[in-house]
């Protein structure tokens, strides 16, 4: 066990966990931020995607000790007040079916738009390819990203 300070969604949290605990489980079990999902535990599906200093990472494969001192953003903190443009687009395009992977999908898309505000189809595929969806919503995810971006350039 170790005392670790985490900065999650702009708030500081002191947690007492084994330092090799994956960030995912600290977010979910210790901080009750369950919007971040467990899918594979091996960085293969993207359901656990969060931002670490703005970059999309797989929280299931990152020891919590490595996240200390960084800015962690989860789906719960993606947008301070109103919904993020991507969340609005996800609703407009009616993307989710079961919805389980969608918070991870949105976090991956948000990291993409932060870097490339008007991504091409290829850029979208590249950024989103690590995020699995068993309900097959890929087509609508692509449309929602374009919608949130106000079209590609």
């Amino acid at each position: 066990m170790a005392e670790i300070t985490l900065r999650v969604n702009s708030s500081e949290h002191k947690v007492s966990v084994a330092p090799d605990t994956p960030l995912l489980w600290v977010l979910r079990d210790t901080l009750a931020l369950t919007g971040t999902k467990f899918g594979c535990g091996a960085g293969l599906c993207g359901a656990c995607t969060v931002h670490l200093d703005g970059a999309a990472i797989r929280s299931c494969s990152m020891p919590v000790s490595q996240a200390s001192g960084k800015n962690i953003t989860t789906i719960e903190g993606l947008s301070a007040n109103a919904l993020h443009a991507l969340q609005q687009a996800w609703i407009a395009e009616q993307v989710p079916q079961c919805g389980y992977c969608q918070t991870g999908q949105i976090m991956a898309a948000a990291a993409l738009l932060a870097k490339s505000p008007h991504p091409s189809d290829d850029q979208i595929t590249q950024a989103m390819n690590g995020n699995l969806c068993r309900c097959g919503t890929y087509d609508r995810i692509r449309r929602a990203i374009h919608r949130a971006a106000g079209g590609s350039q």
Partner: protein, 705 residues
């Protein structure tokens, strides 16, 4: 359900004084006289106007928490904005609550309509009484009753208490489809907002005060048991509070956190008694399936006599592997054992079966087991099993604490139930013009229901009755089934046997068209040209409806028109769960591998409740089926499942996902299945396109190994 409890239920609703509570009961089917009071719907209207529709099916992504309330709201003449839903847990009020078989809309369509209509009629009566005017001068509209002669209006909320005291009409008039305001509209799903901001609570997210977490080490060999275990190291892991056997073949590690339980399991030292299947492997299973094809078969369908037909004979065999459902949310269930009772929070497609299995496992009465149904991160049939619930209940009892059992992805891949592997022998005789005058298809596959102890009449797995028909008009047809048992655990996976039956028969029809040097679309249309009703068990398949979807998909895809250089079309159609689907797949070949660019699907599933949700089901079905066709394969070696995670069981990702266009043949028939019927045509349409591209026929799946 007894009549007493039904009456109690009704009187509680009326006496509560909070509004109108309607439990509307109809016989579940005239042949089921023993259960004539099985209720079919449940509705609450509060005095503040809030309308709550209870959804007695499980939401696993297919949209029942929106589509089922739409059906009721339509007849109720409700303002959709006032609709809220309540998820039913395991109950005795709703008949069979199983969510599967693409049946949620088709089995609740009638009762939900009647429940809404009955409430509407009671609200009209309440208003007419209040105003002292004839019922016929009152009209229901937008959650209110209107008397236009006097320009008066009372809302449902205002009328709720009065309506609650009125008799329930037994045969309320139903609306005509032309008057629908809600059904048939692409209304946004009620569950979507919570699925984009992290607030949606799935089974894995549910938490109780003081709850502990458990992961189980299960014997990797099918049918094996725990011989010995040493928990010394496991108990050294911080937070691990308990290690103990669950049944004969698993050991639970309980900890304060999921990670602690996983770490405890990692260092657990177990000797397994691998049992009789320690040398089981896929090659031997395929071999036995092939051998069984020469054995005794049960007849699924027979017309004419295929054995007497002479002519040009064509034979082919097809083979499909075991597959895993692999929903995104791994298995889990929370349970709280309380001495003589148990409550569960289960992501399940079968709350009543979970209730009964848990009662049996704990040796308590089913009345003492409460099952709450959570949202599910996919199901695809995997959550038709009761294993998660039983494990959670047993562990909670063992530690006398609320417990959540969580499966890892590897657990889900290796200790699951699987789509059965199958072997198919097809044979046809062509006449001089190349048309099939005899067609036979022998399906060899382990029976899922048989393995679960309910083999069905004549050894025919009951699922085959929904999933293995043939809608072509031919003079001599023989469809047969051979059940070959396997120790590999079997489960119902999206479209079940229709995937295997559709792949084999729709690939083979393509082979026949090629042998006859005819266009595959024309060939199929010729076999559907005559209007014919084909009775296959309880379903009447209509050639006209299959013709409709085939023509629509072909037209929208531009069948027969020039494609981009290097692009090829393939087509297939199949009918299952009482619906008809045709798909045209457009591919190119890259390094001997197909790249699917576009899939045009057409469905005839009767009256459409929500076109947005239907399109999702078609898009999702196609992508799910593409994974099945390309790579989904569970192999067995030394009695163990080889695959473990999304690297060696690799679903389609965005880079492989085609554009899917969904079209609907308009229909006023009652709604039929939508979740599964889009799955079967994809693999044969894809392989038929590959044949055009390569002149090589694919007769076994997966395509890529």
């Amino acid at each position: 359900m007894s009549s007493l409890s039904r009456r109690q239920f009704l009187s509680v609703g009326a006496a509560a004084g909070a509004g109108l509570v309607i439990g509307f009961y109809l016989p579940h089917g005239s042949h089921e006289a023993k259960d004539v009071f099985a209720p079919n719907a449940y509705l609450k209207i509060a005095t503040d106007g809030q309308i709550t529709v209870v959804v007695a099916r499980s939401e696993m992504g297919q949209g029942v928490r929106t589509s089922l309330p739409m059906i009721l709201a339509e007849e109720l003449e409700a303002d959709w904005q006032q609709i809220a839903i309540e998820q039913a847990g395991a109950s005795t009020l709703y008949g069979d609550q199983t969510t599967g078989g693409s049946a949620s809309v088709r089995t609740t369509w009638d009762p939900m309509r009647r429940a809404g209509a009955a409430a509407r009629e009671m609200l009209i009566s309440a208003a007419a009484l209040q105003w002292g005017v004839p019922r016929s001068s009152c009209k229901a509209q937008n959650s209110a009753i209107i008397h236009s002669d006097s320009n008066r209006r009372l809302t449902y909320g205002q009328l709720a208490s009065k309506a609650a005291g009125l008799p329930i009409p037994t045969d309320p008039p139903l609306k005509q489809a032309k008057d629908y305001q809600i059904v048939g509209k692409p209304i946004p799903r009620l569950d979507v907002p919570a699925k984009v901001d992290g607030k949606a609570e799935y089974g894995i997210d549910f938490r109780l005060a003081g709850m502990k977490y458990a992961v189980l080490a299960r014997c990797p060999v099918v049918g094996g048991k725990v011989a010995n275990f040493d928990d010394k190291d496991a108990k050294k892991i911080a937070g691990v509070s308990y290690v103990g056997k669950v049944g004969d073949s698993a050991i639970a590690v309980v900890a304060d956190s999921v990670w602690g339980a996983m770490e405890g399991r990692r260092v657990l030292n177990i000797q397994w008694d691998e049992g009789p299947n320690a040398s089981l492997n896929s090659a031997a299973i395929y071999d036995s399936l092939k051998k069984a094809a020469a054995g005794k078969a049960a007849i699924l369908y027979s017309v004419g006599d295929v054995s007497k037909v002479q002519g040009r004979r064509i034979d082919a065999t097809y083979q499909l592997p075991f597959m895993a459902h692999a929903p995104m949310e791994p298995g889990n269930c929370a349970a709280q054992f309380r001495g003589s009772s148990c409550e569960l929070w289960a992501p399940t497609q079968v709350p009543q079966d979970v209730r009964d299995s848990v009662a049996q496992a704990l040796a308590i009465s089913a009345d003492e087991v409460k099952v709450n149904v959570t949202l599910m991160g996919g199901g695809f049939g995997r959550r038709l099993e009761h294993d998660y619930g039983v494990e959670a209940a047993l562990v909670s009892k063992a530690v006398n604490t609320p417990v959540k059992v969580i499966w890892t992805r590897e657990d889900d891949m290796r200790n699951s139930t699987y789509r059965p592997a199958s072997y198919h022998h097809l044979s046809a005789v062509l006449d001089g013009a190349g048309w099939p005058v005899a067609f036979s298809h022998r399906i060899v596959s382990p029976s899922i229901s048989g393995q679960k102890g309910t083999p069905g009449d004549g050894g025919i797995d009951p699922d085959l009755k929904d999933e293995a028909g043939l809608v072509y008009s031919m003079p001599n047809v023989l469809l047969e089934y051979v059940d070959l048992q396997t120790p590999v655990p079997l489960g119902w996976m999206r479209s079940v046997y229709a995937l295997q039956a559709g792949f084999a028969s729709e690939s083979f029809i393509d082979e026949l068209a090629n042998a006859a040097r005819k266009d595959p679309l024309d060939y199929r249309l010729h076999l559907l040209a005559k209007d014919e009703d084909i009775r296959y068990f309880d379903t009447i398949w209509r050639t006209s409806r299959m013709r409709g979807v085939l023509q629509l998909a072909a037209d929208k895809a531009g069948w027969g028109k020039p494609l981009r250089t290097g692009h090829y079309h393939g087509i297939a159609c199949f009918a299952c769960f009482s619906s008809y689907v045709a798909e045209v797949v457009e591919i190119s070949m890259d390094n001997n591998q197909p790249r699917v660019h576009r899939v045009v699907a057409a469905i005839d599933c009767g009256q459409v409740v929500n076109p947005n949700i239907l399109e999702q089901q078609i898009q999702g079905g196609v992508v799910y089926a593409l994974t099945n066709a390309m790579r989904a394969q569970i192999t067995i070696d030394k009695g163990r499942v080889v695959q473990g995670n999304f690297d060696d069981y690799a679903p389609v990702r965005m880079n492989e996902a085609p554009v899917v266009e969904a079209y609907v043949v308009p229909s006023s028939e009652a709604p039929t299945g939508a979740g599964e019927p889009p799955v079967p045509p994809l693999a044969p349409a894809l392989c038929n396109a590959m044949y055009v591209a390569t002149k090589k026929r694919i007769r076994s799946l997966p395509l890529l190994t």
